[in-house]
């Protein structure tokens, strides 16, 4: 499809792009920066409304640079939800209250744009560009707080680690391009299986894999995650743990789906061990954390390990469905948890788990909702996290990856221990500090919305699965 016809299907992207520029412009004009935030929110809602139902047959836009299908559409929805929720969380985050607040929202609109292009990117160039776009925006957002030493440090680390991984990925892409003579994924698929080009293609793929592994914080490319998540402003952390990771998985799945044929079977073992390594490292390190953000960072590494279970069994449709369901469940759960962390942190001025003591009495609603999110992360039914875990477990059992399932089960039990450590602090440790003031409406709203998502997916899985998988 040529550029002009393609634009018809590109309206949400265009809206976001236009919105982003407008936001920066508005930032100049308006004294009340919050209005920029409202505008950004509005833009996202508008973009969401303009999202069409996925076409029956997939569309190749811009001469095949973008591949618009149900899969891409799904991730567009996911990205928009994540950005919208993050903006809402940011409304209640007081360290942002300065003259750069408007830029923050503008950057997020760019981010939204970048994210929804990632999902549709269909060749190496577009993948590289959109991923890089997301990354660079992430570096900026991570260090957004002016006078926060930790934020600066996290931005630097993120930048260095991310850029190196991007470089490796790019190097891999260049090799793939060389091997296949094309940057289109299907063309690459043909090469990977051909014996002559195999070594080159394989090294290229591996390098490519490194870049994506960084995005999804897969071991051993996960080490940046805790530092960055701890240092970044909480709304940004919330966003980073969810959206780039989801998009990383999206690209990974698209690559796996279109590039790998029979040779994929060799990779299953590798992915399985990576999955085991990731979840085990994440869980083991999470146990001793005292900072809630760092704690959730390790937890998100572990969650990535569970999601990888779905990829390890990849040709199975159940595994693919599992990854999608998991990503959505994880989206609501983790954003919800960070929404609480943000609003509590804002009110107590600390992100230490110790400052949550007696929260059930000081802020009962926050504590209760946090419990729901943590239970969902643990995988307790009937919450979204359980459904997600069920899916990946089922996929692994179906594929007879017994070792993987058993390790995952043990890991889940270990994870329960540290999630309950937080619950314990909130409920079992008596309050030694006064009750917290009510959170701002925006923070409350986003928390409740995420909780509704978590409960909704858990209680009416049939409906949501249909919505997500079609």
């Amino acid at each position: 499809m040529g550029p002009v016809e393609s634009l018809r299907h590109f309206i949400p992207e265009l809206v976001l792009l236009g919105g982003a520029f407008t936001a920066f412009f508005l930032d100049f004009l308006l004294k009340n920066k919050r209005l920029v935030g409202y505008f950004a929110l509005l833009t996202i809602v508008a973009a969401a409304c303009l999202l069409k139902a996925p076409p029956k047959e997939s569309l190749d836009l811009f001469y095949g640079f973008f591949h618009l299908d149900g899969f891409a559409n799904l991730f567009r929805v996911l990205a928009l939800i994540a950005v919208a929720a993050t903006i809402l969380i940011a409304f209640g985050f007081s360290p942002l209250r300065d003259r750069y607040e408007g830029e923050f929202y503008g950057l997020f609109l760019f981010m939204a744009f970048a994210l929804i292009t990632v999902a549709a990117a269909n060749n190496l160039l577009m993948i590289f560009l959109s991923v890089e776009f997301v990354s660079i925006l992430s570096y900026l957002l991570a260090g957004f707080l002016k006078n926060d030493l930790k934020a600066k440090e996290s931005a630097v680390k993120y930048l260095l680690f991310g850029s190196v991984c991007s470089a490796v990925m790019l190097y891999g892409m260049s090799l793939l391009f060389g091997a296949a003579g094309s940057i289109d994924l299907p063309a690459i698929a043909r090469v990977v299986d051909s014996p002559a080009m195999k070594p080159l293609g394989m090294i290229g793929l591996l390098c490519f894999f490194v870049g994506l592994g960084f995005k999804i914080s897969m071991a051993p490319f996960h080490m940046w995650a805790p530092d960055v998540y701890e240092g970044a402003p909480t709304p940004v952390t919330a966003f980073l743990t969810v959206a780039p990771k989801a998009l990383g998985f999206a690209v990974l799945m698209r690559v796996l789906a279109s590039v790998f044929g029979e040779s994929y079977r060799d990779w299953r073992q590798v992915l399985m061990w990576l999955s085991i390594l990731t979840m085990t490292l994440g869980n083991l390190t999470a146990i001793s954390q005292t900072n809630i953000k760092r704690f959730l960072a390790y937890s998100s590494i572990a969650q990535a390990g569970y999601i990888l279970m779905g990829l390890a069994v990849f040709p199975s449709p159940l595994g693919k469905d599992g990854v999608l369901i998991y990503l959505f469940a994880y989206l609501f759960t983790n954003l919800g948890a960070f929404a609480v962390v943000s609003s509590v942190g804002d009110r107590t001025g600390s992100d230490e788990i110790a400052s949550y003591s007696g929260l059930s009495e000081r802020a009962p609603v926050s504590a209760a909702l946090m419990t729901v999110f943590l239970l969902s992360l643990t995988g307790i039914p009937p919450l979204a996290g359980f459904l997600a875990k069920y899916y990946v477990f089922a996929a692994a059992v179906e594929a007879r990856f017994i070792t993987l399932v058993v390790v995952a089960a043990v890991n889940s039990a270990v994870a329960a221990y540290y999630y309950f450590r937080v619950i314990r602090t909130m409920y079992l440790v008596p309050a030694d500090q006064p009750a917290l003031p009510k959170p701002p409406v925006s923070a409350a709203a986003v928390t409740w919305l995420m909780a509704a998502g978590v409960l909704g997916i858990g209680l009416f899985p049939g409906f949501f699965i249909k919505l997500i998988l079609g």
Partner: protein, 647 residues
């Protein structure tokens, strides 16, 4: 009359129990005894006509479905045959009399109504046991009796000794009960039924018996006998009965002399057909019974507590009965059971009367009570004569029957041991009689008085029973009782022997005479004998050290094992669980440590290596991001190596 009325016999006392336990303390108070006595008497009134009907050759049975088991169902019901009729007769009469006595004895006790509630429950259980037609119901009643025994021994639970005694009693008998239970299970597995008449049917005929595996029968007989050993206080489970004397004396009379302890003997009688089917089990029964009879008599020689002497005497007499049954003397054993119930109940009640009058239990503090308590003394002496086996009192006939069985069945050793025990029986009983009722009062603080009529009347009734009840089994009535029982289960019968009778009489008379010489004439033979045979004396005084052995080798090891296992549980098993938890914590810590030390070290090493390669002499100074990156690169290298199969 309708034989189903028999259901009322246990139900009436049970009603009394329910009413007394719920309302007694608040509403009935001292009237509680009336209810118990009334229901007991009514049960007696219902039971006696049925008993006499059976004596005349009747036979009653009835049942209803109770517990579904396997493909069929266990049916509960009653079976009134000669055996149960005899016991029914004895239990209702003795029970009623003892309760009348108790209403006087217990007067003024703060837990008066509770006492009668327990006694009524006991009566209900005992009567159920007697009329039951199967082993399950029998066992249920058996256990509830055990409970009543427990509750009543511990009636004065404020006393530490009573609290310990009731615990010991329940637990010791429970050991036997578990054996009984296993025996029942074996029997059920072997025969598919626990109904007495069905068991009789299955084992009475040789052909049917051959179909049943003998090993199962042997097992079930021996295990069931464990129940007897526990309940009837046979060696080695006899230790509870002397301690059980902590209970109020009427209880000792009713439960621990006349009825409950006899239930063990009754069990063997009930299961007699099983023992007969596997006669090789019989010597075990005989041996235990005989040894018990001798041992208890021997211990009784040196005891000084009036109730304890009687308790050992009871154990000894129960040993006689068990021995009789072991020598296939069903008639002899049951006969002695009935007669013994009367005179032993009388002895206990007499002892109770003495205690009631003097408030002491040690016979060394008594003396010369004959004049102060004439009714008690006379009836007590009658009972003692009966127990010693002086003709023509009931005890003589029944004991003679047992000796005859031993003699005629060729168990000569048993015969002589029993005769010797009879001699000791006579001696210790009259040692007791002489020290208590004759001579001078030894303790000036004891001011004795005769008990009220409500207590002495039952004494006289029982005394009459002790005198006359021997006759149905005597040659004067042509051994009617033995033949009557033989209808139920055929067993050998023997002609009376003058030799046995004279042995028995000589043993009794010489025992009494010896006691008279020592304790009336104050000849100091006893001390001399005690000195001369010091080990034997110590053995008797310390009750064969059975308690000490149990304490050393059973109770303490059990408690210790409990503690050891608890420790094991808390450390090893729980430790394993916690260990898994700590393990992962530890792994987490190791990983942290690894991050902190090894990773840095590795980086330093690799850095130095690289520096060497590049001939650049500079100290490598890495920041953390680079550590991360290094690890990422190393991981990446591993991939490459693996995928390209370079290694």
């Amino acid at each position: 009359m309708n034989p189903d009325m028999i259901y009322l016999v246990p139900l009436l006392p049970f009603t009394a129990f329910v009413v007394n336990i719920l309302l007694g303390a608040r509403f009935l108070k001292h009237r509680a005894s009336w209810l118990s006595i009334a229901t007991s008497a009514a049960a007696c009134a219902i039971a006696l006509p049925i008993c006499f009907a059976v004596f005349k050759g009747g036979h009653f049975a009835g049942e209803f479905s109770w517990l579904p088991v396997g493909g069929g169902t266990l049916r509960f019901g009653y079976l009134i045959d000669p055996l149960s009729a005899s016991l029914l007769f004895m239990v209702t009469i003795v029970g009623t009399l003892i309760q009348i006595y108790a209403s006087g004895y217990m007067a003024g006790d703060p837990r008066y109504s509770r006492f009668f509630a327990y006694v009524s429950l006991f009566m209900a259980a005992m009567l159920t046991l007697v009329i039951s037609n199967n082993f399950i119901l029998f066992f249920m009643a058996w256990e509830i009796m055990g409970l009543c025994s427990y509750l009543l021994i511990g009636f004065y639970f404020e006393r530490e000794s009573a609290a310990k005694a009731c615990f010991k009693a329940f637990l010791t008998t429970r050991v036997g009960d578990v054996g009984f239970l296993i025996g029942m299970l074996t029997l059920f597995t072997a025969l598919g039924t626990l109904n007495f008449s069905e068991i009789n049917g299955a084992l009475a005929h040789g052909s049917a018996r051959a179909a049943v595996p003998a090993s199962l029968l042997v097992m079930s007989a021996l295990f069931m006998f464990c129940g007897t050993v526990g309940k009837s206080a046979q060696f080695p489970l006899h230790v509870w009965l002397p301690d059980a004397m902590e209970g109020p004396t009427p209880v000792s009379a009713l439960i621990h002399a006349a009825t409950m302890v006899a239930a063990g003997v009754f069990l063997v009688a009930r299961a007699f057909v099983i023992f007969m089917a596997v006669p090789e089990t019989m010597p075990v029964v005989t041996a235990i019974g005989c040894f018990t009879a001798f041992m208890a008599a021997f211990i009784a020689l040196t005891q000084t507590d009036i109730k304890r002497i009687l308790a050992y005497s009871t154990i000894s007499q129960l040993g006689y009965m068990v021995t009789a049954l072991g020598m296939q003397g069903l008639g002899a054993g049951t006969f002695h059971l009935i007669t013994h119930a009367f005179f032993k109940a009388l002895l206990f009640l007499g002892a109770g009367s003495v205690i009631h009058g003097t408030h002491v239990q040690d016979i060394r503090q008594m003396g010369g009570l004959f004049r102060k308590m004439p009714h008690t003394a006379i009836t007590f002496i009658i009972a003692s004569l009966a127990l010693a086996g002086i003709p023509p009192l009931s005890g003589f006939w029944s004991k003679d029957e047992i000796l005859l069985t031993a003699f005629a069945s060729g168990n000569i050793v048993v015969f002589w041991v029993l005769t010797l025990s009879a001699f000791m029986t006579a001696f210790y009983m009259f040692r007791l009689v002489f020290m208590t009722f004759f001579g001078k009062a030894r303790d000036p603080h004891v001011h004795a008085h005769e008990s009220p009529a409500v207590m002495t009347l039952p004494l006289w009734c029982l005394a009459i029973g002790s005198v006359v009840l021997g006759f149905p089994g005597s040659p004067f009535m042509h051994h009617w009782f033995q033949r009557f029982l033989a209808h139920a289960v055929p067993h050998p019968e023997y002609h009376p022997s003058a030799f046995v009778m004279s042995c028995s009489v000589i043993a009794a008379v010489s025992g009494i005479a010896l006691a008279g010489i020592i304790y009336l004439k104050n000849v100091h033979w006893a001390e001399a004998v005690a000195k001369a045979f010091r080990p034997l004396y110590q053995l008797s005084l310390n009750k064969f050290y059975v308690d000490e052995i149990y304490s050393r080798f059973v109770i303490r090891p059990f408690l210790a094992l409990g503690r050891v296992l608890f420790h094991f549980d808390a450390t090893v098993i729980d430790g394993a669980v916690n260990g898994a938890g700590t393990g992962s914590m530890w792994l987490g810590a190791v990983k942290n440590w690894f991050d902190k030390n090894i990773v840095d070290g590795l980086v330093n090493f690799v850095g130095a290596f690289t520096c060497f390669l590049n001939s650049v002499v500079k100290r490598l100074q890495t920041g953390l991001v680079q550590n991360y990156l290094l690890i990422a690169f190393l991981g990446f290298l591993v991939f490459i190596i693996r995928e390209l199969k370079l290694i």
